[in-house]
């Protein structure tokens, strides 16, 4: 493969002339609960490739993520596991998940360590489920980003997400997740986690390049006896802009419950269709939220205060 700067391995620029953001409204291909005009240009689709077979579970990605995004995850305790924090939080956008798996074929222990976080689905369930106009956007390069000013904290993005990723902040009552370091990508940089990753288990570049890199990794793994090694780029969500190389691609669930065949719920798709025609503003938040709520099974994480606050916020904007 040609040497390419299109990886996370470069130093960030500091000159103002080089750091103006190059991801703009004009690059949006989707905007929650609204329609967008066709984008002015098509950006090259990007992807983060996480090679689980090279990952040493060091948590540099978590550390770099916290430092870059200036988040403040809470100090927890040890509960007998290596995961800390214990789950994704509004202040921890990515998390190493550890699983001790005894391979029945070889009898060997395998310590499967997977970096969890937003998959940046091509067909994003969170965005489709989101009732707040412009709270979730998708750029033509594939990044799915949350716009906090527009978020009402209803939590439907969590329900819409086949990977259970977004988390609602108790501080500002809006949803948080990995941005794929959109602020870095906007100036030609890779995400902070990929830059930091000591073993280059996380790489970043165009989706095409990342697929090629994955092919060479899969070939190497097969030569080492991992006959089911493969690329996790699930078609049920239209493919993802965060992909995994797995040694056991036939069994994604052994990697701390990675979904076998993630899909956007049909309910979410139906809702999306409705929103498109009826329009969010016309329906009013309460009606929209209520409808969506009743359409989903399972408990609603949104508190009454949250909903009231959200309602007020949306009214103001409308």
């Amino acid at each position: 493969m040609e040497p390419s700067p299109r990886t996370a391995t470069s130093n960030p620029p500091v000159a103002a002339s080089a750091t103006a953001a190059n991801l703009t409204e004009r690059d949006l291909v989707r905007r929650s609960a609204s329609t967008v005009p066709p984008p002015a240009r098509q950006l090259e689709p990007v992807a983060k490739l996480i090679d689980v077979s090279k990952c040493i579970g060091c948590k540099a990605c978590q550390s770099a993520c916290v430092e870059w995004n200036d988040t403040k995850p809470a100090l927890e305790t040890n509960t007998g596991i290596y995961e800390n924090p214990h789950d994704l939080t509004p202040d921890m956008f990515t998390l190493m998940r550890f699983s001790e798996w005894e391979n029945p074929q070889t009898g060997n222990l395998e310590w499967l360590i997977r970096k969890d976080g937003c998959m940046h689905c091509e067909d994003p369930g969170c965005l489709k489920a989101c009732p707040a106009p412009g709270a979730i956007v998708q750029y033509s390069n594939g990044i799915v980003d949350f716009i906090h000013e527009n978020c009402i904290g209803c939590g439907y993005c969590i329900k819409g997400c086949p990977f259970n990723i977004p988390r609602i902040s108790k501080v500002d009552h809006t949803a948080y997740k990995c941005t794929l370091c959109s602020d870095r990508v906007a100036v030609g940089q890779g995400p902070a986690c990929a830059k930091a990753c000591p073993t280059h288990a996380i790489t970043f570049g165009t989706k095409e390049d990342m697929k090629k890199l994955a092919d060479s990794r899969i070939e190497d793994l097969k030569s080492r006896g991992f006959e089911n090694a493969g690329l996790y780029d699930p078609p049920g969500v239209g493919g993802t802009h965060v992909m995994y190389v797995l040694h056991h691609n036939d069994k994604p669930a052994i990697y701390s419950g990675l979904p076998e065949d993630p899909k956007v719920s049909p309910v979410v798709n139906a809702w999306k269709g409705m929103a498109k025609y009826v329009g969010f503003a016309a329906m009013g938040l309460a009606a929209a939220a209520g409808m969506l709520h009743s359409a989903f099974a399972g408990p609603n994480r949104v508190t009454r205060e949250d909903e009231e606050k959200a309602e007020d916020l949306v009214k103001e904007k409308i």
Binding site: S63, L75, T77, G80, N84, E102, P198, H200
Partner: protein, 811 residues
Amino acid sequence: MTNSWTDIRNTDLVVIMGGNAAEAHPCGFKWVTEAKANRGAKLIVVDPRFTRSASVADFYAPIRQGTDIAFLLGVINYCIQNDKIQWDYVKAFTNASYVVREGFAYKDGLFTGYDENKRDYDRSSWEYEIAPDGFAVVDETLQNPRCVWNLLKAHVATYTPEMVERICGTPKDKFLKVAEMIAECSSPTKTMTSMYALGWTQHSKGSQNIRAMAMLQLILGNIGVRGGGMNALRGHSNIQGLTDIGLMSNLIPGYLNIPVEREADFTTYMSSRTFKPLRPNQTSYWQNYRKFFVSFQKSMWGDAATPQNDFAYDYLPKLDVPSYDVLRYFEMMHQGRVTGYFCQGFNPLLAFPNRQKITESLSKLKWLVTMDPLETETSRFWENHGEYNNVDPASIQTEVIQLPSTCFAEDEGALVNSGRWLQWHWAGGSPPGEAKHDTWIMAQIHLRLRALYEKEGGAFPDPILNLTWNYHDRNEPTPEELAKELNGYAVETLYDPADPAKIVLEKGKQVVNFSVLRDDGTTACGCWIYSGCFNEAGNNMARRDNTDPDETGAYPNWSFSWPLNRRILYNRASADLQGNPWDPSRKLIAWDGTKWSGYDVPDIAPNAPPDVVGPFIMNQEGVSRLFARGLMREGPFPVHYEPFEAPIANVVAPNIRGNPVARIFQGDVAQFATSEEFPYAATSYRLTEHFHYWTKHNVVNATLQPEFFVEISEQLAAEKGIAHGSWVRVWSKRGEVKAKAVVTKRIKPLICDGKPVHVVGIPLHWGFTGKARKGWGPNSLTPFVGDANIETPEYKAFLVNIEPTTAPATV
């Protein structure tokens, strides 16, 4: 490291044993993953725990801590039995053919000359037979039964795969798989690298652990070649530098020695340091010792060091014991024989074994001075923190002075990495509050003490009053000024000895490197091995040209690598007796008929003919040593000795406890436990989320691994009724800790000598200061005994007991 981090990319097989590179050195471990991804290299991990290094290994084998020598001698035995030897290398580049003196023998775990009362050997029989011409006798046919090869063969024969399994608990099939993979690297075109760290050093026989692997690497022909070597992964950013500069009781910079008391004068001192070659035509580079020593004295004391006063030889202290290492010194402190102590960026309350003894020792000081950028437990050893530091401040009469120093971000200078690269860095931030550079602090201490001696006189003030202090600002020498002293300079104008009219170097100029140093007082050099780092070409440590011709991993113009910018030590051994690379695809240097040249600075005189001068130029033999002569205290070959606290008796020498020559203090013996009292085999280690006791002050790292825990197997947890994530009490004969239990499949009971052995893993990183939750370090539990050669404490193998408990009282 004999090689460098970036050289690991050239290897075919990585053996991580005695370390855990993925966790302790993640960005260096990158080069393991690169070698795997780009050249199909394999990774073997041998460890009591299935570590994060093991998680990406091609093969993992468990081993009981403290039994590495048995394992490695077992591999050597396997190679000999299966003729997996790089024969040309072994015959030409090692002392395999050297004949050992009559009278040398080994029996029941001991070599000739042992004195049980002294816990020491008379090592006189551990030597070569010397012919009348003064040279060592060799038998190139390897037929002589007393030649090193035959002695070695007999010595390792005990360590059969069955014996390895019995001692180490490594299942025979797993051991054989590892041995087979390693043995493949005896091919001249296959190399293996050994990456080890404190998993090998922190034992009462740590030095011999490393020797065992070095011997294996020599037999495989893997020293001096790309992708090979003995690669010690040093634990701190400048431990290599502090060792090089000799900040130790018995060292002078550049691995010279502080005199001992019987070396009453300079002539006597030099008489045992002639380093006469033991074979014809050999380099024996230490013959230049006197030049380096005199240049050091000139650097220290300038005009006060004259030929008439033996270059101020008497200014140096003379030792009455091998060294005043930290274990000896805390023993002295414990006995009330110490008044004051300085801790510069060091936290002994958590770093030295048997914390109870450390606390008692510090409490007996009249004064303690600490210098650190961060709070340390040591500077607050007198402060009560409930169970975490249960002391009574009122009863502790030690005066403590805590000085705030700057951290890396506010400081300029060079750090030496594991691969011997001296890398310069620059300050980018302002110090907090009144924090000061360490250089300023040390200068102030000196200047104020000097002023007192100038004014008041006192005990032998000469070495203080005459200390070279030619700095532009006496109050704060600059890093550049100090680096230039380390490099060395001409005290007088230097003339060519062959042509006295010709000036080699004008007075005051920086020397180009150590080859121009002299023993007549006309040159000064602080640390000869660094010479060349800051010469008239400028600050070579600040070079940042990262080009790498033919991608060998050498990066010859990046920073400066000691010695002489050489990137791979012993690189002459990468070529055969004709001077051609053993492996053309891994060429380092080659002989073109008249000289050596290549990708690296040759580790041999450029015109030394390949079939005449041996590659191991620092040795009097010119070859490497499979047989260590009298240079190691336990013996010329490693022997399996159990840790002082072991779960089973020594199978190969049942009457020997621990290392028979390790120093033990009387008061500590009663505190060594037996496996009847303390049945579980404990070990201590770092986790990747933290660095030592520093990052618990860092809110991010504290979050990533917030609380002290211990790791045990599911089997032990079931036996003791310990639930996952519950509190346990772990105690040894010296103290106790409370921790959360991580119950894991990654630790499994081992069967050793027919008996199940449970391993308890105890990470370090927690204390009573900082952001993370309060906890303890493993040093609350570990025994006060060190390695027999260098006194590194036995942190990696000791005995404990464990039981469920409740949470410590919060403070």
